[in-house]
């Protein structure tokens, strides 16, 4: 048969060149063609943060993943992709996996994060900064749980945990029946994004009554932060601050349109970007205003700078200062007004001042007001958090995730940090009242403490809730919000609605000595391919050769069957 075939081929090649061409080119093409991606399961994964800040690398340094999956229960983890579930995530196991030089870590997050038990959420929130604190060589990914992924996890768990204590035969049987999974990401290696611009927005309301009016600056950063940029929705930190800033802009723009209520203070609103990366937006804004331009509201007569950070929850309010305000200064007036208003109108809010000196030796500034403090501007931050170190400010758990029932007050509140619109509205009202009392100098004019300047209808819950909903509809991590992003343009439009001279400010990191570097490949598609170990192939080859041997014997001895058939049918023939 083969001799004949080779003869045929020989003739074919000799006789006609085109035929060779037709036969061989496709053959070669098929041989070199890449293997198709026909995966058992395909899912989206979100990579852990990767950034450099002041030359210091943070987060995972790798994006490529092509290894077999294991769970932490397996004995050998080296060069394996370790899958963990958030429900039983432990930092020791995570570290153990990294110590054993695992190839990658994939952490499966539950679909409904707000339904998680409180202690797990709290625990994970505290781990987030620890995971980011040091540089991780291998890729770390987060995936949202679904049925397929859960089944992959369960199968991997059974195959990982049952190894080691079995006999050889059992192991052999196990390899034939159990499924392994090869996890493969489709993207390329992560690389630094060059020339990334962080956008900040400013807008103002000009006061009336002469030159050189004092200026009040209201600042909130809009970006969010979490262990994975694509999962950081930042509802409380700092969606609440931004929505409060926009509400204040709306309220005071209303007051400033009437001649009788137009006050002698300039109001400057600043929505800063890169707040979670040492307040880069604010830093550049200050440099632009103080060092480069001749005339700026920031240069002369700033009454105080009020930074809003994480105000959407809790029954406490802390005024963080780096230097206790002196008596007689506008800062001191605001402090007193805040105390007065919270005492007389909002008795359920516990107001206090927290004093913390700026630590210049620290890598990260604690609060946004410290940026202003360094430039000798009187500044402070309002927050319901008592300390800047609290995990709520940088967690992927900080999402809106409010079911429709709990939005109206009923139902369980979610376990993690979240925004309670009622409390956000109350806090907004408190701040607005205190600011108004400072601006119109009401205490010196003898107005009582419980005088309500803004009536119930003026602070609109729907407005606040809508802004928070919109802000948390997409992740707003600094490396995802570029200058064309809808977050920035909508914020700009929104500010332009109430404020004058809305301007953008861009920060780009210095080319030679960048203060911050972001990396791409933060969201990828991961494929889980079902695979079998090499020993399985060998086993299969043995079985197949056995089967073929039986086939060979059967065909060789076909005559037996034939004669049986003949013997059976013979009597029939005779009777015919």
């Amino acid at each position: 048969m083969f001799e004949e075939a080779s003869e045929v081929f020989d003739n074919m090649f000799k006789s006609s060149f085109p035929l060779t061409f037709i036969v061989f080119i496709p053959a070669v093409l098929i041989l070199v063609s890449p293997l198709p991606a026909d995966a058992a399961h395909e899912f989206t994964v979100y990579r852990m943060q990767q950034y450099d800040l002041q030359g210091q690398p943070y987060g995972t340094r790798n994006a490529i993943l092509n290894t077999e999956a294991r769970t932490v229960e397996a004995e050998v983890l080296s060069r394996r992709c370790v899958i963990m579930r958030l429900a039983d995530f432990a930092f020791e196991e995570y570290q153990k996996a990294l110590r054993q030089s695992a190839g990658a870590v994939v952490i499966i997050l539950p679909k409904n994060m707000s339904a998680m038990p409180q202690d797990i959420v709290q625990h994970f929130m505290e781990l987030e900064p620890e995971m980011l604190a040091t540089e991780t060589v291998v890729p770390v990914y987060f995936a949202m749980e679904d049925d397929e992924l859960l089944s992959i996890y369960t199968q991997t768990l059974t195959s990982s945990s049952s190894q080691g204590s079995l006999s050889a035969a059992e192991v052999l049987l196990h390899t034939a029946t159990a499924n392994g999974f090869q996890m493969v990401t489709s993207g390329a290696q992560s690389k630094a994004i060059s020339d990334w611009a962080i956008t900040s927005l400013e807008g103002r309301l000009a006061g009336v009554g002469g030159e050189d009016l004092p200026t009040i600056v209201v600042v909130a950063h809009y970006d969010s932060f979490g262990v994975a940029p694509w999962l950081s929705y930042g509802a409380d930190s700092n969606g609440s601050g931004v929505s409060m800033l926009l509400e204040l802009a709306r309220l005071f723009s209303k007051l400033y349109t009437y001649k009788r209520t137009h006050a002698g203070y300039n109001l400057l609103f600043f929505v800063s970007g890169g707040g979670k990366f040492n307040y880069q937006g604010t830093k550049r804004w200050l440099e632009d205003n103080l060092d480069h331009t001749d005339s700026s509201l920031l240069q002369d007569n700033v009454a105080f700078v009020l930074c809003l950070d994480t105000l959407g929850n809790g029954d406490t309010m802390h005024l963080h200062v780096s230097k206790p305000p002196k008596e007689g200064s506008p800062q001191f007036t605001l402090l007193k007004e805040l105390e007065l208003v919270s005492e007389s109108q909002f008795p359920d809010v516990k107001f206090s001042m927290v004093h913390k000196k700026i630590n210049l030796a620290d890598d990260m500034l604690a609060w946004e007001h410290e940026r202003f403090g360094i430039r000798r501007l009187p500044a402070f931050t309002l927050s319901h958090l008592a300390s800047h170190r609290l995990a709520q400010r940088a967690s992927i758990m900080d999402a809106r995730s409010v079911s429709p029932s709990s939005r109206h007050g009923a139902g369980e509140p979610p376990a993690g940090p979240h925004v309670d619109v009622q409390k956000l509205s109350r806090n907004t009202k408190l701040v607005a009242e205190a600011l108004a009392r400072v601006i119109y100098n009401l205490t010196e004019k003898g107005a009582p403490g419980d005088l309500q300047i803004f009536t119930e209808q003026m602070v609109q819950d729907e407005q606040l809730s809508a802004v928070v909903d919109w802000l948390t509809a997409q992740p707003r991590a600094a490396q995802l919000v570029d200058k064309d992003s809808s977050v920035v343009s909508t914020l700009e439009y929104h500010m332009g609605h109430y404020l004058k001279d809305v301007k953008r400010h861009y920060v780009r990191a210095d080319k030679r000595d960048p203060e911050f570097v972001f990396y791409d490949q933060l969201k990828q598609t991961m494929n889980a391919y079902r695979v079998k170990p090499a020993i399985f192939d060998l086993l299969l080859a043995v079985c197949i050769s056995g089967y073929l041997g039986v086939m060979y014997l059967a065909i060789q001895n076909f005559g037996l069957l034939y004669s049986v058939a003949r013997r059976v049918t013979q009597p029939k023939v005779k009777s015919h």
Partner: protein, 225 residues
């Protein structure tokens, strides 16, 4: 998975053909070219069938999960063309009955193996993803070899002038079974919701039964005169 896995599947699919070719004595008859011709006829018949199907049975986008019995039945009726093709191959070869049957069936089945299984095996079994379906596909090709041998035998018997009257009915029934086997299998799968391994088993049993019946008929016919 790996090239090795592809080798496994390929061996499983191809070696029974090779063994059959060698052991049935076809190689002694220099039947290689005749088999190739049978294969070419297979290609031609498939082309005609496809044209016919595409013309008269435009794709029916039925409701999800609804099995179109009549449509499928009509479609498998088109497989009658296979019988014609086999008959054509056998009528062009002179020789003993067994020889004619084996040449037609070998050529036919090998052409099918090459055309409809080699490429999926090459592409699929070599991929990273492991799936039993490639092993099943290889087993399936073994079954279809038996199927085509039986079918060719039945066609040969049917077209004989000296076929006794009493044989007419069983041969016709077997012929219909051969043609509608695929349809019947689909019906089973749809009604009993079989798993892929069970389907393979049922297919093997059904094909085995058809082949045994045709073997008995063949033996009776050949040795009766």
């Amino acid at each position: 998975m790996t090239l090795f896995h592809f080798g496994n599947c390929f061996a499983l699919a191809y070696f029974p053909y090779f063994i059959t070719y060698k052991c049935s004595g076809l190689s002694e008859y220099n039947a290689f070219w005749r088999c190739v011709q049978a294969g070419a006829t297979y290609l031609f018949v498939q082309l005609c069938k496809m044209l016919f199907l595409a013309t008269f049975f435009p794709t029916w986008e039925g409701g999800a999960g609804v099995y179109d019995f009549v449509g499928e039945f009509m479609k498998s009726t088109v497989d009658m063309a296979d019988l014609l093709g086999l008959h054509l191959v056998m009528s062009r070869n002179a020789g003993k009955g067994e020889y004619k049957i084996m040449v037609a069936a070998m050529g036919w089945a090998t052409a099918e193996l090459v055309m409809s299984r080699c490429l999926p095996l090459w592409v699929g079994a070599r991929g990273i993803e492991f799936d039993w379906k490639y092993i099943q596909m290889s087993f399936d090709s073994n079954i279809s070899l038996v199927h085509y041998i039986a079918m060719a035998a039945v066609v040969w018997m049917f077209t004989r002038y000296d076929l006794p009257k009493s044989f007419r009915l069983p041969v016709t029934v077997l012929l219909a079974l051969c043609v509608y086997k695929a349809f019947l299998m689909e019906l089973f799968v749809n009604i009993f919701l079989l798993g892929s391994w069970t389907v393979l088993l049922v297919k093997a049993v059904l094909t085995g039964a058809i082949s045994l019946c045709s073997l008995f008929l063949f033996v009776t016919l050949v040795h009766s005169n």
